[in-house]
Symmetry: C2
């Protein structure tokens, strides 16, 4: 594939991402995306043969970006305590949601595709699930299914990012400590 | 509108709801829904002139059902304490998500429509938001924006309902006390 083609592919993905954040994944159509990019629909199909393939590609791009951010926090680093890992994970997720609210919206919107299983919530090899299972085994967190912690944190981080984007309140109105306390309990965050 | 027509309208809404729970709102098309119901697409348009109108109607049906369930818990009943109201609200939401996981999936999937603002999260007249604001003012809950509590509870209830539906664990594997503690803190639920 030529350089020029790669650019076109990125333009198609960007236009689709914009549609999703503005109107939701349900509103995406290959006709509208092709028009936005200024190419014919048949040309778009040479990159993405179906709407589902297009949505999947947008999702994969955002998800890889998100996963890289989470792994960079050191949640798999043996030198950190469990409590430090949990704190870093929540902090990174909250920061990511503030910096890229559109990215989490896209992940939320597309993850319902038939071949997609949440954010790997049912995968015991998922390092985030492993972190929470380990924290519960050590008594650092009360016991419950790990997927419920991850879901709560993802939802709260995303809503906080959206509230800031919609100027419901400013970036510093709610501290990391308040969010940590909400999602992990009073041993974490503010007293 | 004749009785027969009302039945047809409900069939269209049911078929659309099924599509959403199976493949997501992004996969709904008026062509597919009409085919499923066994009517022509032009006939479908006499009920719902656009796909967005169809999705909105499905959402409204599920949302009204959900709102009625929540209001029936007594969250606006002055004879209950704030803590009782909070406990009833969370319990009702968790039960609703177990009984009707599809219903919450549909609400989640469609709420991104352009004219829809979350679950009224930014509406100070929303009785749920009022309950949380009152609880924080009284010191029953730590202070943070009320929308973050509501978001966490909705997400956890929905994930728990989905986990049970997917037979990840049974209905009694996780107690209400465990969920209350996760979303409202250790003053609620199990010690």
């Amino acid at each position: 594939m030529k350089i020029k083609d790669k650019n076109k592919e990125q333009q198609i993905l960007n236009a689709t991402a914009e549609f999703i954040t503005r109107e939701g994944a349900a509103a995406v159509s290959t006709t509208k995306v092709a028009k936005q990019v200024g190419i014919g629909q048949s040309s778009l199909y040479t990159y993405f043969p179906t709407k589902q393939a297009l949505l999947k590609a947008v999702f994969d791009r955002e998800q890889q970006n998100f996963a890289a951010t989470i792994l960079a926090t050191g949640i798999a680093d043996d030198k950190l305590t469990t409590k430090e890992k949990l704190t870093r994970y929540v902090t990174a997720l909250v920061d990511f949601a503030i910096a890229s609210p559109a990215s989490l919206t896209i992940i939320e919107q597309i993850k319902f595709l038939p071949d997609f299983d949440g954010i790997g919530l049912n995968d015991p090899h998922n390092p985030v699930i492993q972190l929470f299972n380990s924290a519960m085994a050590k008594g650092v967190l009360p016991k419950i299914d790990a997927s419920l912690y991850v879901t709560a944190i993802f939802a709260v981080a995303r809503r906080n990012g959206e509230n800031i984007r919609q100027q419901k309140y400013t970036k510093n109105a709610i501290s990391k400590a308040q969010i940590l306390r909400l999602v992990l309990g009073e041993d974490f965050g503010a007293s």
